[in-house]
């Protein structure tokens, strides 16, 4: 028996103790999308079915009650915290969904410097946790561009990664334990231990589930000593991406872990570094950590780069100022709105990963094909920002002038065909189509290609944990 919107709202209100049920029409509209549909949204166009309500929960028992209720009544639930998702993961594709928002569960419950762990609720903004840690001389080491706005629950649910990952790792390397609630109302707490081999690592069922399997209510992360005084920033211009990838590889393969290792192509470079890198690629490194390690890392990088004639060193102040302005803030988001509406120039990103052998080929073919096949392109380029011993990522940036096209058709005319090229070329070459933004709803059509025979494992998780299919329909798993 399916409930109507009024009934859903009534029942939800009864279920909660101190949580809130919001049905304000503007809030519902805003809650039906995330940044993937921002072009439509900026123009006041909302194409997705509206949710029945946004529920702001206060604790895990309220989460359990809502999920149980949703399971029993086959209501789609979209888990949410910071609302900064970029791949459609937060779109309510089913009418009268419940948007389950954990942003009011925002307490930092424990900072434990002796055991180097910090525990907080899912709605804790990363920036708040980071500030509190820094006051004590520690850091999470996690710094995604959305840091000023993103919250821990979502950051774990999307397997996010930050600017210093080459040293600290992605969120999956930082999570110690967590608590998650499942659609049947079961609250599961995974304890905090440094490591164990007591069966498969079940944390990885939760980390990256994008709300398709459970709702994360609490997270414990490792913390690190904060020693910014030892940071050494290095920048270089060079002529080719191929050379840049080789340098990145050499740094990683020889055992060095700068926190930042970035390679920008000339197009993406022109956008950020036009004042010193006209028509060139740019390499940026940051050596971080205990003084001697930072110094040794910086020295080694300088040596490696010196082996390539085309690299020219850039004065540090150029890079420093740029770096300080990298993260989003509310001002930037508002400015972006005006620019998009006035100039009709719209941009987005697609992040992939591949091994060293294939990465440059993927870069070249994608850029070539996008330029040729997609109309009205104003910029296509990219950068590598997360390196591993066995490969790296590539973050494609693509901008176009939305021409003769209604806001709600922008994705079909431009964004989707661009993603299709990048995803198909990457998977063909053996890379991964999603490095760190999550599958969301807009890369699900390629999920089986992404997994091949291992899709069996992924789909069985869904069958096991969400048999009713109420958790964020259309995310990761095709709707």
């Amino acid at each position: 028996m399916s409930l109507n919107k009024k009934q859903i709202v009534e029942q939800l209100t009864k279920l909660l103790n101190s949580g809130k049920v919001v049905t304000d029409p503007e809030v519902l509209k805003e809650s039906s999308v995330d940044r993937f549909r921002r072009f439509e949204e900026l123009h006041g166009v909302y194409t997705q079915p509206l949710p029945a309500a946004v529920v702001y929960v206060q604790d895990s028992s309220e989460v359990a009650a809502v999920l149980k209720f949703a399971s029993e009544n086959e209501i789609n639930v979209v888990p949410r915290t910071g609302h900064t998702a970029t791949e459609g993961g937060l779109e309510t594709i089913v009418e009268n969904s419940i948007v389950l928002d954990g942003s009011e569960m925002n307490r930092v419950t424990k900072i434990d410097p002796y055991n180097m762990q910090a525990t907080c609720q899912c709605g804790t903004p990363l920036e708040i946790l980071e500030e509190q840690l820094r006051e004590k001389g520690f850091t999470t080491g996690h710094s995604p561009q959305s840091k000023p706005l993103a919250q821990l629950g979502g950051l774990v649910a999307t397997r996010s990664i930050g600017q210093f990952s080459t040293l600290y790792g992605g969120i999956e390397d930082m999570v110690v334990g967590l608590e998650a609630v499942f659609p049947n109302g079961k609250i599961s707490k995974i304890k905090n231990v440094p490591r164990r081999a007591a069966g498969p690592d079940i944390r990885h069922v939760v980390i990256g589930n994008e709300g398709a399997l459970c709702f994360i209510t609490e997270v414990t992360v490792k913390i690190f000593k904060f020693m910014p005084e030892n940071n050494i920033l290095l920048g270089y211009t060079l002529d080719n991406m191929k050379t840049g990838f080789e340098i990145l590889r050499e740094v990683m393969v020889n055992g060095f872990k700068p926190s930042v290792a970035r390679l920008y192509d000339h197009e993406d470079g022109a956008y950020h570094f036009s004042h010193f890198a006209n028509g060139k690629c740019v390499l940026i490194f940051m050596a971080e950590g205990p003084k001697k390690i930072a110094e040794a890392t910086a020295e080694a990088i300088e040596d490696i780069v010196a082996g390539y004639d085309e690299c020219i060193k850039v004065d540090t102040p150029y890079i420093k100022t740029w770096f300080e302005n990298l993260n989003w803030d509310a001002n930037d988001i508002a400015e972006e709105k005006t620019e998009i509406i006035e100039t009709k120039n719209m941009g987005n990103t697609t992040e992939i990963s591949a091994d060293w052998e294939r990465i440059n080929k993927i870069y070249e073919i994608c850029v070539e094909r996008i330029r040729k096949e997609i109309p009205d392109m104003t910029m296509v380029g990219g950068h590598s920002s997360h390196s591993y011993i066995n490969g790296t990522n590539l973050y494609f940036v693509h901008y176009y002038n939305v021409t003769d096209c209604k806001p709600e058709e922008e994705i079909k005319k431009y964004h989707h065909p661009i993603k299709k090229i990048i995803v198909e070329e990457t998977i063909k070459a053996g890379g991964s189509m999603c490095h760190h933004h999550g599958v969301g709803k807009h890369r699900t059509e390629w999920i089986r290609d992404e997994y091949g025979s291992s899709y069996y494992i992924l789909e069985t998780l869904k069958k096991a944990f969400d048999p009713e299919g109420i958790m964020n329909r259309g995310t990761i798993y095709p709707g």
Binding site: P317, W322, M377, Y400
Partner: protein
Amino acid sequence: MRILVTLKVVPDLDLLRDKKWTIKNNLPVETAYVKKAINTYDESALELALKMADQRKAINLETELFALTIGEAYADLFLKKLLALGFNKTYRVNSELDLRFNPEAVAAIITSFIGECGPFDLIIMGMQSSDGDNAKTALLTAEELAWPCITGVTGFYSDRSDQVAVENISDQGLVQQTIRTSCILAVGNAPSSLLRVPTLKAIKKAAEKYINILTLEELKDKPEDLLLQSNTRIQELETVDNSRESIIIDGASAEEKAHFLYNNYLKGWMSSK
């Protein structure tokens, strides 16, 4: 119709918003390390000129758009963009001179340029630049040329080359006037005037076009005299300190903070006024 738009490429001061500035030799050191951008009023001037060219094209009228800047190679990136957007010719007068606070020299260079590469029916300039803030260049150029000049311009249009309809803000209010060309329009706060973005195809096509680079010697007999041209001389630059007490009102919720603010401060202030 021949339209010249002058522009200045300046450091993007938005990127230094939260930084403390250090001054050395009357130069804020940090501005050398940030990305550059087209001065915001000049950007409006450029976009308005393009909009007018579009409107004229729609009624089969040709418009020739020219852009001029004074500076070094860092400006070429922006001039190339203008060529891709449809500007017929772009010019850069190569100069290493510090003209930040020397609008007299800038006006003299522009005037010579007009003599060399003109004639132009309309000259559009931004009212002032975000670094020098002199707000004099358009006015001085008008005096040098003995042309009329309208400031506070927010829009303009013409379907003939001997006059132009202008919208501007003045002390008397909003003005709509039609004025004889040739004249200078100094653009102020014009809404909806962010510069459009060229497509890759347009950029590729414009790669065949080149930027005309002129030297100061070509325009002025004694370029060294330009430094002496300014009728004021910068003596000192210092930082502005706006800091106040900055007492942070804490509380468990917005409501609590609002209560505190009202009861402890606002109530008293509002009743005393």
